[in-house]
């Protein structure tokens, strides 16, 4: 097992897929010669050349649209939108075009497109460069949504995304690019979509979290273990498809559910998980479900406010205690 960063995992996945399949092309703003503004794609331009790795103008609509058109005509494009917040500029191409072309054509068309972007707080990037945007895309059937948070999951899921015949929204957390983790040495590590990972086993409460919030949940779990409470921490890794089976099985065992999101509460994926559990597994529950989120917050620039708004281990501990109280 080699230890690499999340950053390394992105470029390794793209490199392996571009080497494997000539139809994989990659483009976005400053992704080629400069290696990306987060420096996650260095070397691809040098290795695969300017035909397959292209720097684009600042034109998100044109980027996604070109990705859609190339995908429906046989290429397998990967595109980068840099900050996930900028997906808002091209929401039409994503939610109306990429997501719906297959359905509206009665299944004639397929859109094997991967749209990468970096989301989340990285400390002081302000309100338009820090959001977690996953739920924007969950509301558009036709799109798969990946939210990997370890090098191994980034590597394995990005490769799966490239091979998927559906449009995939691939969200990386920019605050995690430097984080390290083990990845398998063999050349073709794939992680299937829709398969959650049990990060920590425990019998008292189920905590569901993704990306940076997994680390927060694990810290909380350490604290709670000292108090004799054993948490099961689950990372769904993909939100569409969502592995409710693994979550439901865990809740059946623990009777308690807490979700932890670095995102706004209303309409978040936590709300979806909680709703499905209450719809289908209500009798498993022995206490209130609790969501830890940003509430109705907008990420502020100021350090103490940003840190206050973001969920921390103490918020998760409090949520677990609330869930167990009843």
């Amino acid at each position: 097992m080699a230890v690499i960063t999340c950053r390394d995992a992105v470029v390794r996945a793209l490199d392996e897929e571009m080497a494997r399949d000539e139809d994989v092309i990659f483009f976005g703003e400053d992704v080629g010669k400069a290696g990306g503004v987060f420096y996650v794609t260095p070397g691809l331009y040098e290795k695969y050349g300017g035909r397959r790795v292209r720097d684009t103008p600042i034109s998100e609509n044109a980027i996604v649209g070109a990705g859609v058109g190339a995908a429906v005509t046989g290429m397998r494009p990967v595109i980068e939108l840099m900050f996930a917040d900028f997906a808002a500029v091209t929401l039409d191409q994503i939610v109306n075009q990429a997501a719906k072309l297959r359905y509206m054509s009665g299944g004639q068309i397929q859109v094997p497109l991967t749209i990468r972007m970096a989301q989340g707080s990285a400390g002081g990037f302000g309100s338009q460069h820090s959001q977690c945007c996953e739920s924007w895309f969950m509301h558009a059937p036709g799109l798969k949504v990946c939210v990997p948070g370890t090098p191994a999951d980034i590597l394995g899921l990005l490769k799966s995304a490239v091979r998927d015949d559906n449009p995939v929204i691939f969200l990386e957390h920019k605050g995690q690019y430097a984080e390290r983790g083990e990845v398998p040495d063999h050349a073709d590590h794939l992680v299937p979509m829709g398969e959650a990972r049990i990060v920590r086993e425990g019998g008292d409460v189920t905590i569901v979290a993704v990306q940076r919030m997994v680390g927060v949940a694990l810290k909380a779990a350490d604290t709670l273990a000292e108090q004799g409470v054993e948490c099961e921490v689950i990372d769904p890794r993909t939100l569409v498809p969502l592995d409710m089976e693994t979550i439901a099985r865990s809740v059946e065992k623990t009777g308690h559910l807490v979700t932890v999101e670095e995102a706004v509460r209303a309409g978040g994926w936590g709300a979806e998980v909680v709703s499905q559990i209450t719809e289908n597994n209500i009798w498993s529950l022995e206490g209130p479900v609790v969501r830890v989120t940003l509430g109705a917050g907008i990420i502020p620039f100021s350090q103490p406010l940003e840190e206050h708004l973001l969920p921390g281990p103490e918020d998760v501990v409090a949520a677990v205690q609330r869930s167990l109280e009843a």
């Binding site: 998100e60 309100s127 620039f301 103490p304």
Partner: protein, 335 residues
């Protein structure tokens, strides 16, 4: 062509350029010292455009400005206090936006600054709206939108310029062409040699001007502003300029060809105006040095002050999202 302005205006422009220069240099240091976090986009080298722009804006009349994350210079030139800006850079309660906006999101309605927009292209449509208000009210106000040379590649730019042209909005579109969008040279992403060439597609006038010379930029903007105020619609102004530093943060700007920076620094906007004032007997070398020292000291004083300013109270985190209803209660859900 440059028109020489009165000594008082020249003095003000020079002073403000020095203020901006020293502020930006200090911001870079503070960023490296971790006092300012996140990211910053400096306008060192581009100061002439800011001070010339500020001369045509009359906030009292209702004039407004939208610009980008590279907006510190514009904010200061428009008259935002250095205290207000420095405190915002550090996320302090006394910042122009109570620390919630930061380097990329300065706003000060008192000086006409509607905002520094961090999503490329977002400012132009908003300037159109401000110009629409002016048109509806008939108050003679204008709105200027400032953006970079990479921005005419985004759809919002074209939609905004088209609408402004069709509605003859009192808007001015001011491009600071500093040759690069992030790490990519202008020519790699644009099919026409000049940003100004784009104006033809919308039937509006355009002007290319030496952006290192405040006295060249000023009359061009004044004419564009007059045209807008007269109801003749928008003008596209392209100011040729250069950023001495990287795009943001600690970008070392290795993508620039050798000697390019040095060539531009030979035409430094501060030196150009100061040199002309000295030649015209309006400024001695000693006075220039004293003015520079004064601005440097002012930046240092305000920096120390801002460092010691309090953080916003944590209760502020969820304030200012909604306009409170009549009874003062906020809308929405708590954290």
């Amino acid at each position: 062509m440059s028109t020489s302005l009165g000594a008082a205006v020249r003095h003000k422009m020079l002073t403000n350029m020095l203020l901006v220069r020293h502020t930006e240099e200090r911001i870079q240091e503070l960023f490296l010292e971790n006092v300012i976090r996140g990211t910053t986009h400096l306008c060192i080298g581009q100061e002439a455009v800011s001070v010339a722009m500020a001369e045509v804006i009359d906030a009292a009349r209702g004039d407004t400005v939208t610009c980008t994350y590279r907006g510190h210079g514009h904010a200061l030139a428009l008259g935002m206090s250095l205290e207000s800006m420095m405190a915002e850079m550090m996320g302090k309660a006394s910042g122009c936006s109570k620390g919630k906006g930061g380097s990329m999101h300065l706003a000060d309605l008192d000086v006409g600054l509607l905002g520094t927009f961090a999503v490329v292209g977002a400012g132009l449509p908003v300037t159109n709206g401000a110009a629409l208000t002016a048109q509806m009210r008939g108050n003679g106000a204008i709105s200027i939108s400032i953006f970079g040379d990479g921005t005419p590649n985004i759809g919002a730019w074209h939609e905004a310029v088209n609408l402004a042209a069709v509605w003859k909005l009192p808007a001015v579109f001011l491009c600071e062409n500093n040759r690069y969008g992030e790490y990519t040279p202008y020519d790699d992403t644009a099919p026409v040699p000049n940003v100004a060439d784009r104006a033809a597609a919308y039937g509006i006038p355009s002007v290319i001007v030496d952006g290192q010379d405040a006295e060249a930029v000023y009359p061009v903007l004044l004419e564009a502003a007059d045209r807008a105020r007269a109801g003749d619609g928008p003008t596209l102004v392209e100011a040729l300029t250069y950023r001495y530093r990287g795009h943001s943060r600690s970008d070392p700007a290795t993508y620039r060809p050798e000697g390019e920076l040095e060539r531009w620094m030979e035409r430094d906007p501060i030196d150009i105006l100061a040199g002309r004032m000295q030649a015209d007997g309006q400024l001695t070398a000693a006075e220039f040095e004293a003015l520079r020292e004064q601005q440097r000291a002012e930046v240092q004083r305000v920096t120390e002050w801002a460092i010691n300013e309090p953080w916003p109270a944590l209760e502020e985190t969820l304030e200012d999202i909604w306009v409170p209803s009549g009874d003062g209660a906020a809308v929405g859900e708590g954290a």
